[in-house]
């Protein structure tokens, strides 16, 4: 579409404003992690790496990161297995109630987190009689992580169709060989993208985690939450936030690459 010079200027300004609104606060977090002032006097008078060194030796942070990674991995693996199986069932087979099942599978991501949290906590504590632990957190996370895996995989399955698998069978490959050589490789990008998203979801989850974790289990977001209001911990929290900003670029970049791969594969 052709725009007038004035139209383009206005659009560019609007875009700049939008981006600034998102990224300036993040930039402040990163800058503040070097701010020598403990109360974040702005603008910073002098810079220091003291807070970064403190974080490196902070056992609370280290344990929280470890817990988050453990929960994230278990939730992701569970979600990948279940989400993929569900996607196959719903994409490749027709059965009574298929439509209802596909709605029910996606629903957890639309439900308010607090409702999921409440429901799972009640389920664990009352009629399942399971003691809350790091596992209950992981399983709870898997309920909504599964949705993103499922969505990725079913989109890929619908786009690739079944002719590649038919061609494989036609050329003499049995079911397992076809899965190993054709179905799985075609699905790999979608699985990875789904797994990355699932891990990301689990990693910054806070509401469900709060209500399904026992007192001893602290994930990183919960650790941040707990230390946010303590003035002497503020600089350390700030450093953790800065690290998370930088780290989140990695999965984003990877999933973009994988998404691009998805598009070219879908073109055939």
């Amino acid at each position: 579409m052709l725009l007038s010079r004035r139209g383009r200027t206005i659009l560019a300004a609007a875009m700049g404003l939008g981006l600034a609104f998102i990224y300036l606060p993040l930039l402040v977090v990163v800058v503040n992690s070097f701010n020598a002032s403990q109360v974040f006097a702005w603008p910073p008078r002098s810079l220091t790496t003291r807070w970064w060194r403190e974080v490196a030796s902070n056992t609370g942070v280290r344990e929280a990161v470890l817990t988050s990674v453990e929960v994230g991995l278990v939730a992701t693996v569970t979600a990948v297995v279940l989400g993929t199986l569900l996607a196959f069932a719903l994409a490749r087979y027709t059965f009574f109630g298929r439509q209802s099942v596909s709605v029910l599978v996606v629903l957890p991501i639309a439900l308010p987190g607090i409702v999921t949290a409440l429901a799972l906590r009640t389920a664990f504590q009352t009629f399942l009689g399971v003691e809350l632990s790091i596992w209950t957190v992981a399983v709870s996370h898997a309920t909504f992580c599964m949705v993103v895996v499922y969505n990725n995989v079913i989109a890929r399955l619908r786009r690739t169709g079944t002719t590649a698998e038919e061609a494989s069978a036609d050329l003499g490959a049995d079911g397992f060989t076809t899965f190993r050589l054709v179905t799985f490789p075609l699905l790999r990008g979608a699985l990875l993208a789904g797994a990355l998203l699932a891990f990301g979801l689990s990693f910054d989850e806070i509401v469900v985690t709060l209500s399904t974790a026992p007192p001893g289990v602290t994930t990183l977001p919960i650790w941040i939450f707990q230390n946010l209001s303590r003035p002497n911990q503020a600089p350390v929290v700030n450093v953790v936030a800065a690290v998370l900003v930088l780290l989140s670029v990695v999965p984003l970049y990877l999933s973009q690459r994988l998404a691009a791969d998805t598009v070219t594969a879908g073109r055939l």
Binding site: A164, E166, A167, S168, A169, D170, L171, A173, D174
Partner: protein, 392 residues
């Protein structure tokens, strides 16, 4: 015998320099000679039925097909979309399970066997190449899953690729190829297994006209040289007439007529065949009585009819003739189609070569009174489904 290369004869006009000759030669030379019983058909279909859906929405895509495909022949399944021709092909390949009836390949009942247990290979309409594999890996796939040794696999793959003149593109991905090249890869991938039967599901549908015509000639040449039975599905009647030894014309899940190109074109058995293969120039009822002096439904092909202005000298005595008015003139380059409303009531299409006429000349015929005449030998009686099937 065995694996010694055989020198093939190859029409150099068909394709580029020596490349083609080597390929097909390679394919032919390695073709094993199984215990082919000449009397035994390559494919035998008996009472084949396929129903999709259940209850009131059920559709009989294939409604009782009996067919013998001879060993080494090029058989085309021709019909409009939804006529069941592709479903028959998918039943033979094993992608669909027959609702009733049997499928025999080389005398062995394979009705209940999985696709990978049948000695047929398929060229798919959309090629169905594996996007994550190189061209070489695509072509070698069938050998790989059948546990053919690495060295033999490499040489047979290369032969097959050379055969379709893509030997230099083995490292490419399918996405980096043109439509025509993908088509060739699909063909090489299917032929490298040396199947008893090759099934082709509208393989030329996605190609432009020029490439399509070139591939028609080439496919036919490959088939003649590798000696494999080809079952080819198309909705394009010209394609069917060009390539086939025999044509099975499909409609409504049944075979309307089975015969050579000449049979189907010149002696259509039913009005549907007359209409689908070529232009349906039908005379029936009162018009037939008046023009031909006999009853029933008759077909005359447009190119058999000559057209003169009414005031020009009368036709030869033994010619059939009818007068009428030109309703429509369609200039198609090399020829012109005249749609003539006969005084007797029906309308006929006459195709005239533009030997000396040009588009402006033929336009002047519109609305003029003309006389059509043809040799009565070109009148073919077609069975009317309403009446008894009285055709030959």
């Amino acid at each position: 015998m065995g694996t010694e290369p055989v020198t093939m004869r190859w029409d150099p006009q068909l394709s580029g320099p020596r490349a083609g000759r080597r390929l097909y030669g390679a394919l032919v030379s390695t073709q094993p000679q199984p215990d082919v019983d000449a009397a035994r058909p390559a494919i035998r279909l008996r009472g084949l039925r396929k129903r999709f859906g259940t209850g009131p929405q059920a559709v009989d895509a294939v409604a009782g097909v009996d067919l013998d495909v001879r060993d080494g022949e090029f058989l085309t399944l021709l019909g409009p979309s939804g006529s069941g021709k592709t479903t028959v092909l998918r039943l033979i390949a094993g992608f669909e399970l027959a609702t009733a009836g049997t499928i025999e390949l080389g005398g062995v009942d394979v009705t209940r066997r999985a696709p990978f247990e049948r000695d047929v290979n398929t060229v798919f309409q959309d090629y169905a190449l594996f996007p994550h594999m190189s061209v070489t890996d695509n072509v070698g796939y069938g050998l790989r899953v059948r546990k053919v040794g690495r060295a033999e696999r490499a040489s047979r793959t290369q032969e097959a690729l050379d055969g379709v003149r893509l030997g230099h593109l083995g490292d490419r991905r399918p996405a980096q190829l043109s439509g025509g090249q993908r088509q060739r890869v699909a063909l090489a991938r299917a032929l490298v297994n040396r199947p008893r039967v090759l099934l082709l599901d509208e393989p030329l549908g996605a190609l432009d006209l020029k490439l399509r015509e070139q591939m028609q000639v080439e496919l036919k040449a490959i088939q003649r040289q590798v000696g494999i039975t080809f079952v080819f599905v198309t909705h394009d009647q010209e394609e069917a007439l060009t390539m086939s030894d025999r044509i099975a014309v499909f409609d409504g899940g049944r075979i309307e007529q089975l015969g050579s190109a000449a049979d189907v074109y010149e002696r259509p058995a039913t009005p549907f065949v007359a209409g689908f293969v070529g232009t349906s120039n039908l005379l029936s009822g009162a018009a037939a009585e008046q023009v031909l002096g006999r009853s029933g439904t008759w077909s005359v092909r447009p190119e058999k009819i000559r057209l003169d202005l009414d005031d020009e000298p009368a036709a030869e005595a033994h010619d059939r003739s009818a007068t009428g008015v030109v309703r429509e003139v369609v200039y198609v380059g090399s020829a012109t189609r005249f749609v003539v409303d006969l005084d007797a009531g029906a309308s006929l299409v006459a195709l005239q070569q533009n030997v000396q006429t040009s588009s402006s000349d033929v336009d002047a015929y519109r609305g003029r009174r003309v006389r059509l005449h043809w040799d009565p030998r070109h009148e073919v009686q077609v069975a009317d489904p309403a009446t008894a099937p009285t055709a030959h």
